[in-house]
């Protein structure tokens, strides 16, 4: 193990390490802690210039109920859910199939198709912006959640296929050969043999895509406008315009907007990290 386990160091070094840990964490999360503190302060603190002192009173419930009951935030949150969940399902389904095709079968253009997905996944969004916006307008899907979902599914399929294909490649191939010898149809091999083995990959991708899509901002402002379809990342800017300089409300709003992916991460930590670090070890 590197660095040398701290247990082998002198007691003084161990104590130093254990005090350094929380200090470093506080430093690291300082901007976030500041916002959390802001979000429970009363409005009077800001008008009196008490930005960084002790909160005048503890107004957590007041501030957050403002966000939930006195703004468009709940609508934006609902939009985010209605955009994120179908995208996760769509992208995972499409890429599970594509990954199966690319991971199991040997055909001449296999690697090229695979590289198309990988390369497409890396392109800058701006090269797609004008045509995709145009296409969405032509289909009458501008400023709808469906328009965003369709694009997100398509784009995320690139990354997901890369992930799925590499995962399926690592499965024991004799299993599939055995099924073929038994005369099992190919689509049944997919459904009954490969898919059950892919559960960890499906879970990992689902949490990752959830986070990516929840946090998307660029496509939200390109393809939607207003509280009818905009997700929370775009909505937060209108929220902030509504409560300009009301830092306690803007902070509370940001925390509400950020919470779902944070919760998702802490609840599904194992899958999340497995997804992100696939390929970091050979």
């Amino acid at each position: 193990m590197f660095p040398r386990p701290i247990q082998q160091a002198s007691p003084a070094a161990q104590t130093t390490y254990k005090t350094l840990l929380p200090l470093a964490l506080i430093m690291w999360l300082l901007p976030l802690i500041a916002v959390a503190v802001f979000s429970v302060k009363p409005a009077s603190d800001f008008t009196q210039g008490n930005y960084w002192g002790m909160p005048g009173s503890f107004d957590l419930i007041d501030n957050y109920s403002q966000v939930f009951f006195n703004s468009d935030m709940p609508r934006y949150m609902l939009n985010s859910v209605l955009i994120t969940v179908p995208t996760v399902i769509g992208a995972v389904a499409l890429s599970a199939m594509a990954g199966f095709a690319l991971g199991i079968y040997k055909f001449r253009s296999n690697l090229w198709v695979f590289f198309m997905f990988v390369a497409g996944n890396f392109v800058p969004f701006q090269i797609l912006m004008v045509p995709v916006r145009d296409l969405t307008l032509d289909m009458g899907l501008y400023n709808t959640k469906t328009g965003l979902v369709l694009f997100h599914i398509a784009f995320q399929t690139g990354f997901c296929t890369l992930f799925m294909r590499n995962f399926i490649r690592a499965l024991p191939f004799p299993l599939i050969e055995a099924a073929r010898v038994e005369g099992v149809a190919e689509w049944r091999i997919f459904w009954f043999v490969v898919l059950p083995l892919m559960k960890p990959a499906l879970a990992a991708l689902a949490v990752l895509i959830f986070t990516f899509i929840w946090n998307d901002y660029f496509w939200a402002i390109v393809l939607t406008q207003g509280p009818d379809a905009q997700p929370v990342t775009a909505g937060i800017t209108s929220f902030n315009a509504q409560y300009r300089a009301a830092y306690h409300l803007m902070s509370a709003g940001s925390i509400v907007a950020a919470l779902p992916p944070v919760l998702m991460f802490f609840l599904m930590q194992k899958h999340f990290i497995a997804g992100l670090t696939l390929g970091a070890v050979k």
Binding site: F2, A98, V123, V184, N240, M264, T277, A280
Partner: protein, 310 residues
């Protein structure tokens, strides 16, 4: 000849249909079809469309007028484009600091004391925040009078600073905000990598008297190569994709000094500065070509790997 899409395999058909005979060859394409269709319509074809739009003068609604290379000629003399290009370079260079910073934190956290898992998760948490929230948080952190940064500098007797209002420093301020989640990402890659470092090699090197920096440089880092490669890929892509932070923190200002290509393109094509789709597409093409250099390198690396593997 009957083509049955999904033949019932329970019953053995007397005659093998066309699908049955070509099952192995046809199935992968059936499985690939939906993904390829979506990807082609929304990703592959638009790339080529952007190339073609960049040759037109078009406001997005009316008739497009063919202007040949005029948009690109205009780019050459466009000061704002030049500034954006330089800022992209700054992003590329300084964003890469996330890799050593992530390695440093990973080494710091790679211990087994009580509660270390919680520490690792909390150190990683900035990555799951949306860039919009990161941008807001840092914009408030940088506020000239009320912000925490100015207040902390005040404790040391240093004057308040207006990071985002200063044309020279604003870009670095935004990059610093971007480094926060990116470092967390690199950290988690390296923590996973460190977990897989061969303990026997480390012990053998220790017996040979290697320790500290030498151990890190000659024994550990070579074994972290896969993690470093991925960290490099995601950081480069992230640097060239930077848009959200700029849009939230400065909206390109002050005086357009924090624009990057991705932001400038959006401004030209879709904001109050006018709907110049053709010119925007030309900027996007330049950004795409820069990215293409890296994409080609990544694909080449992957290709070599594939050759080595099965």
């Amino acid at each position: 000849m009957t083509v049955t899409a999904l033949p019932d395999t329970e019953a053995t058909p007397p005659k093998r249909g066309w699908y049955k005979r070509n099952e192995i060859a046809v199935t992968p394409w059936l499985f690939l079809a939906p993904a390829i269709l979506f990807f082609a319509v929304y990703v592959i074809i638009p790339i080529f469309q952007s190339f073609s739009i960049s040759l037109y003068d078009w406001d997005g609604l009316g008739e497009a007028r063919f202007v040949g290379m005029a948009n690109y000629q205009e780019l050459v003399t466009d000061r704002a484009f030049e500034v954006s290009l330089w800022n992209n370079l700054k992003w590329l260079v300084f964003y890469l600091l996330a890799i050593p910073a992530g390695l440093f934190i990973a080494l710091f956290l790679n211990q087994t004391v009580t509660g270390i898992r919680i520490y690792k998760s909390l150190f990683f948490s900035p990555f799951v925040l949306s860039q919009v929230v990161v941008g807001l948080v840092f914009a408030w952190f940088y506020l000239p009078n009320e912000g925490l940064l100015s207040n902390m500098l005040g404790w040391f007797g240093l004057g308040p600073v207006n990071v985002l209002g200063d044309p020279t420093w604003a870009t670095y301020g935004i990059i610093a905000a971007g480094l926060w989640p990116q470092t967390a990402y690199c950290m988690i890659l390296y923590l996973t990598g460190l977990n897989a470092v061969d303990p026997e090699q480390v012990e053998a090197a220790r017996l040979d008297g290697a320790k500290g920096w030498k151990m890190l440089w000659y024994v550990i880092i070579p074994q972290l190569k896969p993690a470093t490669f991925i960290a490099f890929v995601v950081t480069i892509i992230g640097a060239l994709r930077s848009f959200d932070l700029i849009s939230i923190m400065t909206n390109g200002g002050p005086f357009g000094q924090t624009r990057v290509l991705s932001f400038y393109m959006f401004e030209k094509a879709l904001s109050e500065y006018g709907f110049r789709m053709g010119y925007g597409a030309a900027i996007a093409v330049v950004l795409f070509l820069i990215m293409l250099v890296f994409i080609a390198y990544f694909l080449f690396s992957m290709y070599r790997e594939e050759r080595g593997g099965r």
